[in-house]
């Protein structure tokens, strides 16, 4: 298997995630795009782990997944709080940090 192609897939996924964060205004879709970026980084880590023949990168990948789970919980709590305040989750409406 050609590892360059795995890295290119990782690049494309990361770019897709960036595009989603920059272009969409729906908070949930923005969070999903962040998850896409984290997955792209995980794919790159697995690729490098395979390339170097050691498993430390896969342990780091496991930690990335754990942090992503925590981040998803916090992020969705934030989305619910945003919805309570504005009755929508359009990020363009969330322009103030104060209530």
């Amino acid at each position: 298997m050609n590892l360059d192609h795995a890295l290119i897939v990782s690049f494309l996924l990361f770019g897709t995630g960036i595009a989603g964060v920059l272009l969409r205004r729906n908070a949930i879709v923005v969070f999903m795009s962040i998850e896409l970026m984290l997955n792209a980084v995980n794919l790159a880590l697995v690729t490098f782990s395979r390339l170097r023949g050691d498993l430390d990168a896969q342990v780091l990948c496991f930690f990335v997944m754990a942090v992503a789970a925590a981040e998803a919980a916090i992020g969705l709590g934030l989305v619910i709080a945003l919805f309570r305040r504005h009755a929508s989750i359009d990020l363009d409406r969330a322009t103030l940090l104060r209530s």
Partner: protein
């Protein structure tokens, strides 16, 4: 055969990713995201990262996606408007520009190819666990605290006043 499966899963992952950010309905986007996660789990299996493939299915396609779908259902979100750059006319222009950029990137002679992978241990549960409970024991325990803090934090955030 490995190559065929690899390219299948890779194409599935990239296409699902693109569908995630171009759907108007968040629920549809979430389902495509599940597809992308499963495709990446397949890629991990092909790279001998068996433990990570299992964790990918359990944590990402399971837990995290349940969270997303729960919130989408809770907030009763319908389709939203796409930004102007994703409307019908501009979308193709944008896609063509992106495709040209990617093809340029792929067409460039990237010079030195990656060396052939050195044969190492497969990332199965035992091999990962030996590291996780050896060199990485402290980060592992800190992760447990981090998850506890995340639970408390999300409850505090979503708590109805």
């Amino acid at each position: 055969m490995r190559e065929v499966f690899f390219y299948f899963f890779a194409a599935l992952a990239v296409l699902s990713g693109l569908l995630v950010i171009t759907r108007r309905n968040p629920l549809t986007a979430a389902l495509y995201l599940v597809l992308a996660f499963f495709a990446l789990a397949g890629v991990y299996v092909l790279m001998d990262a068996f433990f990570l493939a299992a964790v990918q299915v359990a944590v990402y396609a399971g837990a995290i996606m349940v969270l997303f779908l729960f919130v989408i259902m809770l907030l009763n979100l319908g389709p939203d408007d796409l930004p102007p750059i994703m409307t019908r006319r501009v979308r193709w222009l944008y896609a063509a520009a992106s495709a040209a950029l990617v093809l340029l990137f792929l067409g460039l002679d990237l010079g030195r190819r990656l060396p052939a992978p050195t044969p190492g241990a497969a990332g199965e549960v035992g091999a990962i666990a030996a590291r996780l409970f050896g060199d990485y024991l402290l980060p592992f325990e800190i992760t447990a605290v981090l998850l506890l803090v995340a639970i408390v934090g999300s409850v505090a955030l979503a708590h109805r006043e």
